[in-house]
C-alpha cells in the first residue's frame, strides 16, 4: 500500500470534515500498479496556511477551494507553479466560471469539482488524479533509467574507443624512440597490431552507426517485400574473402522468392552480423550453412557454424552490449561487441520475433531467428 498525502484547503470546516469522511478508507487500484493507493489527509483553512504546509513537507494532491479569506486559490496555484512543485491540484469551486477555469488550468490545475459535490463525484475525481499522478511519475522514473542506461553505454563506448587509441599510441611511441631497433622491419608486428586495432575501431564505428540508425526516429523505415534468400546471398558474398582465407565453406539453402515484409537495411544488419560471426568464429576448414524456411506464419533463418563454440556462461552474456567473449581462441578476432546486441534489438523489438542460440564448445554454434510473416 502506498499512501498519498492530500491537503484540503477550504475555509469552511464543514467541507473539510466532509471531504475527510469521504476519503477515509478510500482506495485506488489500477490493474498494473503493484500496490493500491490510500490517502492521508491534512487540512488548511487558508491559502497562507496551505503554502506553509507544502513548503514544509511533501504533498501529492491538493483539493483547493478558490474562494478563500486571504490569498485565493489561483494565487496558491501560482505559487506551486513558480516553485515547480510536484503537486496535483484539484480546484473545488462553487461558482465555476469559464474565466476562472481557464485561469486555473493555465496555472496548472489538474481538474475541477463543482461545489456541492456528491461523495461519488469526489472519489472519482481523486481516482483520476491518482492514476494520472502514478503514470506521470512512472514515466519520469523510466526516462531517468533510460538516461542512466545511455550514460553507461557511453562510458563503456568511450573505453572501447580509447583502448585501441592507447594501444596504437603506445606502439608509435616505441617506434619513435626506436626502442627495439633501427630497422623498420623490427617493428613489423607492432605495425600489424596497430592496423588490426584500427580495423577493430572501424568495425565499432560501423556498428555504432547501425545502432544510431535503429534508434533515431528521424530515419523513415522503408517496409516492403524483401527477398530473404537474396539478402543472405549478399551477406555470404561479403564474407567470401575472409572465408577463403580460413578455407571455410559456406552454404545457402533458401527457397526462391521467399519474401518478408520488412526494411531491407534491417534484414541486412541481422543477416550480415550472423554470417560474419559464423565465419569469424569458425575454425580453419570449417563450414557455415544458412537455412531459410517459411513455416505457417513465420520465417526462420538458421545460421550454423562449425566454429569454436561457447560454454553456457558465455552464451548467457552473449547479447549484452560490448560483450566480447575473451579467451585464447578469440584473442585475434576483431569485433565491437555490439553486433549481437543490435541483432537482438532488431529481432525482438522491431520484428517481434525471437532469437535463440545453441552452442557446443569446440563444436559450433547455431543461431536461429524466427520472424512473424
Amino acid at each position: 500500500m502506498a499512501t498519498l498525502k492530500v491537503l484540503v484547503v477550504d475555509d469552511e470546516p464543514g467541507i473539510r470534515s466532509g471531504i475527510s469522511r469521504i476519503m477515509r478508507n478510500f482506495r485506488v487500484s489500477y490493474p498494473f500498479m503493484d500496490e493500491d493507493f490510500d490517502f492521508e489527509l491534512e487540512e488548511a483553512d487558508s491559502g497562507e496556511k496551505a503554502i506553509a504546509i507544502i513548503e514544509k513537507e511533501p504533498v501529492d494532491i491538493i483539493l483547493l477551494d478558490n474562494k478563500l479569506p486571504g490569498m485565493d486559490g489561483i494565487e496558491v496555484l501560482e505559487h506551486i507553479r513558480s516553485k515547480q512543485m510536484d503537486i496535483y491540484v484539484m480546484m473545488i469551486t462553487s461558482y465555476a466560471s469559464l474565466e476562472l477555469a481557464v485561469k486555473a488550468t493555465t496555472n496548472g490545475a489538474y481538474n475541477f469539482v463543482p461545489k456541492p459535490f456528491t461523495p461519488e463525484e469526489l472519489r472519482s475525481a481523486v481516482e483520476n488524479i491518482t492514476k494520472h499522478l502514478f503514470l506521470k511519475r512512472m514515466t519520469r522514473s523510466m526516462n531517468k533509467e533510460g538516461k542512466q542506461v545511455r550514460f553507461q553505454f557511453l562510458s563503456v563506448l568511450s573505453h572501447e574507443l580509447k583502448s585501441p587509441i592507447n594501444a596504437i599510441e603506445g606502439y608509435l611511441k616505441i617506434m619513435k624512440e626506436r626502442q627495439v631497433g633501427e630497422s623498420l622491419s623490427d617493428y613489423d608486428t607492432m605495425i600489424d597490431r596497430s592496423l588490426e586495432r584500427i580495423k577493430g575501431m572501424r568495425t565499432l564505428i560501423m556498428d555504432m552507426m547501425d545502432l544510431t540508425r535503429l534508434e533515431s526516429t528521424s530515419k523513415a523505415r522503408q517496409v516492403r517485400k524483401v527477398d530473404l534468400g537474396q539478402v543472405a546471398r549478399i551477406a555470404l558474398d561479403t564474407m567470401e574473402p575472409m572465408a577463403i582465407q580460413k578455407n571455410v565453406k559456406m552454404f545457402l539453402d533458401a527457397p526462391e522468392n521467399l519474401v518478408l515484409q520488412s526494411d531491407s537495411d534491417e534484414i541486412e544488419i541481422i543477416m550480415n552480423n550472423l554470417v560474419s560471426n559464423a565465419v569469424k568464429y569458425n575454425r580453419e576448414n570449417g563450414e557455415v550453412s544458412v537455412t531459410i524456411r517459411q513455416t505457417d506464419n513465420q520465417v526462420s533463418i538458421k545460421v550454423e557454424d562449425t566454429g569454436i563454440g561457447m560454454n553456457e556462461e558465455e552464451v548467457s552474456r552473449l547479447f549484452q552490449e560490448f560483450m566480447r567473449i575473451k579467451n585464447e581462441k578469440t584473442r585475434n578476432i576483431t569485433g565491437s561487441g555490439l553486433g549481437l546486441s543490435i541483432v537482438k534489438k532488431l529481432v525482438e523489438d522491431t520484428y517481434h520475433g525471437t532469437i535463440t542460440v545453441k552452442s557446443i564448445p569446440d563444436g559450433g554454434t547455431t543461431f536461429e531467428v524466427h520472424l512473424p510473416n
Binding site: S155, S158, H159, K162, S163, N166, A167, E169, G170, Y171, I174, Q179, V180, R193, R197, K326, R331
Partner: protein
C-alpha cells in the same frame, strides 16, 4: 647492478597494452611474467611470488583489478602491487590511495595511468622495490 633479476607480473586483458608494458619492463632489466585476465593472474600467483605486480583495473569486469589486487595482498602481504588504468582519462573518475580510508579498501600500493613515461614507471617501481 641487477645480478639476480627481480620478477614482475603484468596482468592486462588488452594484448597490445600487455605487450607494450612487457617491453618497457624488460628494457628496465626485469624478468616478466604476463597474464591476460584476472583468472590467469590468480593462477600465476598460486605458483610463485613475483617481486612486484602491475595489474590493469578493468578486465573481465570493471573491478577485476581491485579483486585481483586484494587476493594478491592476502597471499603475499609484502608484495607491492601497482594498479595501472586508463580510467581517469576515460571516465573522469579518480581513484587514489592517498588517504587512510582509501587504503583500507583499496589494497594497491600505487596507481599509475596507462601511457606513463618509461622513466616515471621506473621510478615508481624502484621506489616500491626499494632499489
Amino acid at each position: 647492478m641487477k645480478e639476480d633479476k627481480k620478477t614482475i607480473l603484468i596482468v592486462d586483458d588488452d594484448a597490445d597494452c600487455l605487450a607494450q608494458m612487457e617491453l618497457q619492463i624488460r628494457r628496465l632489466g626485469f624478468e616478466v611474467i604476463t597474464a591476460d585476465s584476472q583468472k590467469k593472474g590468480e593462477e600465476v600467483i598460486m605458483e610463485k611470488e613475483p617481486d612486484l605486480a602491475i595489474i590493469d583495473l578493468m578486465m573481465e569486469n570493471k573491478d577485476s583489478g581491485f579483486i585481483l589486487c586484494y587476493k594478491m595482498k592476502q597471499q603475499y602481504p609484502g608484495m607491492p602491487v601497482i594498479i595501472a588504468s586508463a580510467v581517469t582519462a576515460e571516465t573522469g573518475l579518480r581513484f587514489g590511495v592517498e588517504t587512510e580510508d582509501e587504503r583500507r579498501w583499496i589494497k594497491a600500493d600505487t596507481f599509475i595511468e596507462k601511457g606513463i613515461r618509461p622513466d616515471q614507471l621506473e621510478r615508481e617501481i624502484n621506489k616500491l622495490l626499494k632499489i
